[in-house]
Symmetry: C2
Subunit: 579 residues, 2 copies
């Protein structure tokens, strides 16, 4: 029998909690819920580390069901990195277990006095316990997850911060247990780990023993739709073959070939050593060494783009080894050794920092002469300085690209709203540039992944070097993505959705059957639009205007090889990408 | 015979230079010229440390004449700290000597390749020389000024950066020789020292041997007006007695008594130990120890608010020991020992950082637990870490309040446009709060010093705790200040000007007689308005909007003792303060 999931509010100052009926938030989930709640309850002008900010983790509208790839957890708050509203979602087991505990969302509120100790928050079917985390303070997330397993059993899963989050650094991530208990999945972008750190919470531990699966308003209808849904994902060449075969790093060769692979802090669009760091090479190494080329990041994932990357002796190094990470360290910071990059990925997860922001901060450190270009060992040492809370170079490295550039006197700062640009140069993939500039999140490829149309021939084709069609493409994707994020679905379903005629109807059928409503393709668009409008409303109240929806000036003045194109959208043109 | 002063453009990349006729800049000077030239020639969206930014130093319309207190040098550029246009003016001998070399303004353009060495630029009546500054790299400004004196004689004066400017840190100042050759005068605010550092210029050295005074279009008329001008300044109780007697630190007791002395990172408006750090105490110590209580910061100064502060053995410690500095270290960072504060002032000058930004960054370090509250010795050690270019805590301390707060996870960040609030709490001196919020410069008391009307009964009286009249007062002051800054006059003439019926006419008479034009009180207002419009135009192009003209949220939610008032202006009300 289906219960109505509840909202759990936790006061981190007095360590009290209460369960609430969803009330006005009934029928919402994922990014839809996190953004609405932040808009409603967090004054837009407050400091992101102040007691008035909140950290919300919400399951999606399809989470906790048998729908394939529906187990993404959305984390929201006011971002310490960008000052905007932020939703960052992650795989891992957390979302599914939260659903089994009948919790729609948990909300961390207020903050303890300065100097207060860290705590863990333990959720079971019997309620909430606060436990001292003094012995876990300063731990990397791998050690922290081991400590959690020791204390709460191997089935318990965690949402945890590393030393960077404890220090409230603005590139701090929140790491989540993957199905093997490794903290390799991250709500990486926007520094939400710093918000968790400011509230002195080291980990939230879920033990769903005795929890129950959600019921369905119409179980038969759900099964029919979800079966079709799984077929669709298995049938598409990207979700059925490319991602399972090579992980997201399959993009290295594709994007490099297209001349949109930002190299040496965005100086050129092609990297000579791309083949050494490609998804194909990664897969070859893993197979040769006895790792695993495909794993799901959360229960119910059938795309299986994750992996178990092992060293030459077959020992586990990292998982969730994404294209973005490989690019940031390998392309933008010129590190040629894929094993070194894997260790850097592991270090980011362990220290609890976003790999995009931090890989690119390493490129800034290289640009500023702090370490040599391409030196992976030096980069690793630089990152591990974050492990010492009194190391101030560590603080700089954990605070993102804009901060590092200011510290090192570097004038080449590829950010939007202080968030580092991801792995596609906007001069030769202009659709994604429109997304970087105009999304509510700061530069973020996942907010409207126009690489589909610009590079991958998914969902049609838009010439990546021209302006035509880019704004419309980005806008439509931004809306659809907001819906996908509200549903708790993995963004990668979009590849299949964009290319399959009945895909949106199929998703709608699942939502309808789960919730006992009539959810139509029109509602699908309305949901995403509504989420974006909430986020824009928050950002407007926080002082953001059209003038902030811009790329740095150098993209407009420096042509990018090999296509020698520049960024050339006006403020007015870009505003058309907003709902 | 009067020559037309020229504009000197220096290309810092290829070390070339050219003199130009003023052309469209004829009849402009000081802040009027720096802001117009930056608006005309610097793309508003470029990075402040990029080759496209320029650093302009301009004499005022009355500089180089016999008018009392007309020797302020205006320095302008796009600010690395705020991202806005910036004018920061300074005393010292530079302005007068530049005038004697018949130079209206010098403009540093372009920038050398990464890794290029620092140079000095030497200006004499015979032209421009570039000399290697390798041996001066890393020097504090005191040592640098000694090196300049040794190389170019004691009469040569300098515009110089310290280690902070060399490292392009955003709180870096530009220090100027005072009439005794000490680098104790500063264009402190907005990080213009970092712009000079990015162009790899350690010092600009002036040797005006053989230069000539400007002539006057009507010498007799000028003499008559300038005599009246000097009388006026001598007659006013603030410019004739208060400032010469006790320096600007005379304000410590006044502002503290008024409950507007921000204490412990803006937590309260009164400081228990104010008497220990007051202007009266400073004067008493100086007299007892054999220093000097009054000195002019530039040739022709008759207000004499500077001093020669000495230690217990009578040895020189610092000069230009301002109220703002005493407050930042003494009130906001709770340091009770005035000798320690004097050493901190000296350290800021020597390292080349703004004392307001840096004193308050020390308060942030205390708030973040880096050093104990009130510990002057620890603060001094913290600052001197900037002397080591590889010390990253030093980099944090030299990058201002916003940066330090981000590094140390502090959520209490009293800045506007990332510039630290100065020494008057806007909750109990609301007129200055309007200036902080709305000036083109980021939080800046000198841009519209409503303390006159709020606290000092100069130029009328406006209740500091109420809203009535504040916007109008701030706006009128912002206009008048822009004119004063364009004329090259010391801002402190405003005390006399506001209270003296024929003061503006007297200034106009001097301008008319100097330039052979008819400059009226109406032109006086038009000039300031025009300067502000230029600056607003630049900031608008750089992406600033009304939403940026705000104080941090905590000023609106935390009442300030002893008056328990909060900041309560709306965005719309504040916009009325803009021209």
């Amino acid at each position: 029998m289906s219960q109505t999931p509840r909202i759990l509010r936790i006061n981190t100052k007095d360590r009290s909690y209460r369960f609430e009926e969803p009330g006005k938030y009934a029928g919402m989930g994922g990014r839809g819920l996190t953004s609405r709640l932040i808009l409603d309850e967090v004054p837009a002008d407050v400091h992101p580390l102040s007691a008035s900010n909140k950290l919300v983790a919400s399951i999606g509208l399809l989470s906790g069901t048998g729908a394939a790839n529906s187990g993404r957890i959305s984390v929201g708050g006011k971002s310490p990195l960008t000052g905007t509203i932020k939703e960052s979602n992650s795989g891992g087991s957390f979302c599914t277990k939260l659903a089994r505990l009948n919790i729609l969302a948990l909300v961390l509120e207020d903050k303890p006095e300065p100097g207060a100790p860290f705590c863990n928050i333990v959720l079971t079917k019997d309620g909430v316990r606060f436990e001292d985390a003094g012995d876990m303070t300063g731990m990397g997330t791998y050690a922290a997850m081991d400590a959690i397993a020791e204390r709460h059993g191997k089935k318990a899963c965690g949402m945890v911060i590393g030393p960077a989050g404890e220090a409230c650094l603005t590139a701090a991530s929140i790491q989540f247990s993957d199905p093997w208990g490794r903290p390799a999945r991250a709500a990486g972008r926007g520094g939400l780990g710093a918000v968790m750190g400011s509230k002195k919470v080291k980990a939230i531990v879920l033990d769903d023993e005795g929890g129950a699966r959600f019921g369905y308003a119409d179980e038969e209808a759900f099964k029919t739709a979800s079966k079709r849904w799984a077929e669709m994902l298995r049938a598409h060449p990207v979700t059925g073959q490319g991602l399972p075969g090579f992980g997201t790093a399959v993009l290295v060769n594709i994007i490099n070939e297209a001349g949109a692979f930002p190299t040496k802090n965005f100086r050129t669009g092609r990297c000579d050593h791309a083949a050494r760091i490609s998804g194909e090479t990664i897969a070859e190494f893993i197979e040769k060494r006895g790792g695993k080329t495909k794993e799901g990041c959360h229960p119910g994932c059938i795309i299986q783009c994750s992996q178990n990357y092992v060293d030459e002796k077959g020992g586990y190094v990292t998982s969730g080894f994404e294209y973005e990470t490989v690019w940031a360290f390998g392309g933008n910071a010129l590190i040629q050794d894929i094993d070194a990059i894997a260790r850097l990925d592991r270090a980011c997860d362990d220290l609890g920092v976003d790999t995009i922001e931090t890989g690119n901060a390493v490129a800034i450190a290289m640009d500023g002469g702090v370490i040599p270009w391409g030196d992976g060992e030096a980069a690793l040492k630089l990152l591990y300085r974050m492990a010492d809370k009194n190391d101030h170079l560590g603080k700089i490295m954990g605070s993102g690209v804009g901060f590092a550039a200011q510290a090192f006197g570097v004038d080449r700062v590829p950010t939007v709203k202080n968030q580092s640009l991801p792995a596609y140069d906007p001069r030769s993939a202009k659709g994604i540039g429109v997304t970087y500039a105009t999304t509510t999140m700061g530069a973020d490829h996942t907010a409207g992944y126009a690489i589909c149309q610009n590079m991958l021939q998914v969902g049609g084709h838009v010439n990546p070097l021209g302006k035509e069609g880019q704004v419309e493409t980005s806008k439509a994707l931004q809306v659809a993505t907001a819906t996908v994020d509200a549903l708790g679905l993995c963004l990668f379903v979009a590849f299949a959705v964009l290319d399959t005629a009945d895909s949106v109807q199929c998703i709608c059928d699942m939502v309808s059957a789960r919730h006992g409503i009539t959810f139509t393709p029109d509602d699908f668009v309305k949901l995403g639009t509504s989420v974006l409008k909430d986020e824009i409303a928050f950002n407007t109240k926080a002082g953001f205007t059209a003038a902030d929806d811009q790329l740095p000036a150098f993209f407009s003045t420096e042509p990018l090889a090999p296509h020698n194109t520049v960024w050339d959208f006006t403020v007015e043109e870009l505003q058309q990408a907003k709902v």
